[in-house]
Symmetry: C2
Subunit: 226 residues, 2 copies
DNA sequence: CGGCATATTGAAAGGAGTCAAGCTGTGTGG
DNA sequence: CCACACAGCTTGACTCCTTTCAATATGCCG
């Protein structure tokens, strides 16, 4: 049982105060499906590995991480998703990953079958799904490059740059995730992430206000790779 | 100019000795498009990074690697493709990768636009492309896990197992690619790949006949991870 | 203003990388 | 058919980056 399922009844009500039906969730510009919005508590699961794939999800607010766990406890973070981004699209019928809220978030979700129906009837929906898939593929391939060929400092730099790009603000970022999350995403340890960040601050490239807010010092930009 | 383009005229002839038209290339069971088959020499490029995306390709025989090069010369291998597998599917209009033949190969290719046309007219074609994309995505995500969280020995083990699965023969494999290729695929150096392989042989898990042929010793299976 | 999770820092160990020889074996020419 | 040569692979010694283990500091939340 996922956290989302537990919230569903409650949230269907909240998302539809007048009881008039379901929300319309925008999957892509012009592509809309009937769905629901639910709040997910910090660290709560949206779905877990092995669950049947039932919905497609969209982050309304907050942040979600998609993870994979090895038998021996090692954890790998496949991706982070932020407001406006879709996740949970998988080809098979059971989830290969888990998804959890990094911070208290609001998640919209539509039945996978509703998306399939939409796609049957509309070319634009099919291409929207296709484009989403292509974007995920490119992201995963970039991630593999980062993990396979970049040093710790380069990985952290790439991560900060990606965060800046995706939040749209290019002179400061607020990290919603912990150092452990960053480490598991970058294939490093929290100590290495922390040390690298400290070193970047000492070198003058970035400046911290608390452990989660970073200002980029334009005078000394982060070394860029890839 | 790609090696493929250089071969194209010559090969169109060879693939169509009677001059009756183009070959039919099977993109997926039941999904067929007009295409051509060309031989590609060992180490020759099928397409290179920055080229416009014009075709979709299928390995008829041989093996292809898809690579990415960093400015400083570091190389990352995104994937290997073997007989029967499709590659070159990218969302954008310019290739983000290069593709080269690992050994002398025969490559079938169809115009991307022909696939798009096929997809317009046929539901099964759309889903074939979608499934291909989904498979690539899963592969890339698995690759990221390997690169991010597995030790050198585990990476090499995962690689050998993957090769065995994909060639269908599960007690021996013939590696078409060099140690450098393996290293660039696994995010290691050739020395580490070589040492790991030697160690596996010494431990009795595998047995070499020449540097490229491996027999799996069923008595002591490779440790399995992920 | 505590108290606990999160983050930083230090010291030591270890795994993979680097540099440098050798070795194999495959293909070619005598 | 053998010998040589070159590319590819292996092995060794040493270095270095990242991890590990351990302690201390920070800062957020009640």
């Amino acid at each position: 049982m996922t956290a989302l399922a537990m919230h569903e009844d409650h949230q269907t009500m909240r998302a539809n105060p007048a009881g008039t039906g379901l929300d319309l969730v925008t999957l892509a510009p012009g592509v809309v499906a009937h769905g629901t919005v639910a709040p997910i508590a910090r660290e709560a699961a949206v779905f877990v590995q092995e669950d049947p794939v039932t919905h497609i999800y969209k982050v309304v607010s907050g942040a979600v991480r998609v993870t994979r766990l090895l038998e021996d406890g090692r954890r790998h973070i496949v991706a982070f998703y932020f407001a406006g981004e879709l996740f949970g699209l998988e080809a098979g019928d059971t989830h290969q990953f888990s998804a959890e809220a990094v911070v208290a978030s609001r998640i919209a979700f539509v039945r996978r079958s509703a998306v399939a129906t939409e796609a049957e009837n509309s070319d634009s929906a099919i291409w929207a799904v296709w484009r989403l898939m292509a974007k995920e593929l490119a992201r995963a391939q970039d991630h593999a490059l980062v993990l396979g060929r970049l040093s710790a400092a380069e990985r952290v730099g790439a991560f900060l740059r990606d965060m800046a790009v995706r939040t749209g603000c290019n002179n400061s970022i607020d990290l919603p995730m912990s150092r452990i999350d960053i480490a598991d995403y970058l294939g490093l340890t929290i100590e290495t992430v922390s040390r690298t960040l400290t070193q970047m601050e000492r070198s003058g490239a970035i400046r911290f206000s608390g452990a989660r807010h970073i200002d980029f010092q334009t005078a000394r930009p982060l070394a860029r790779v890839a």
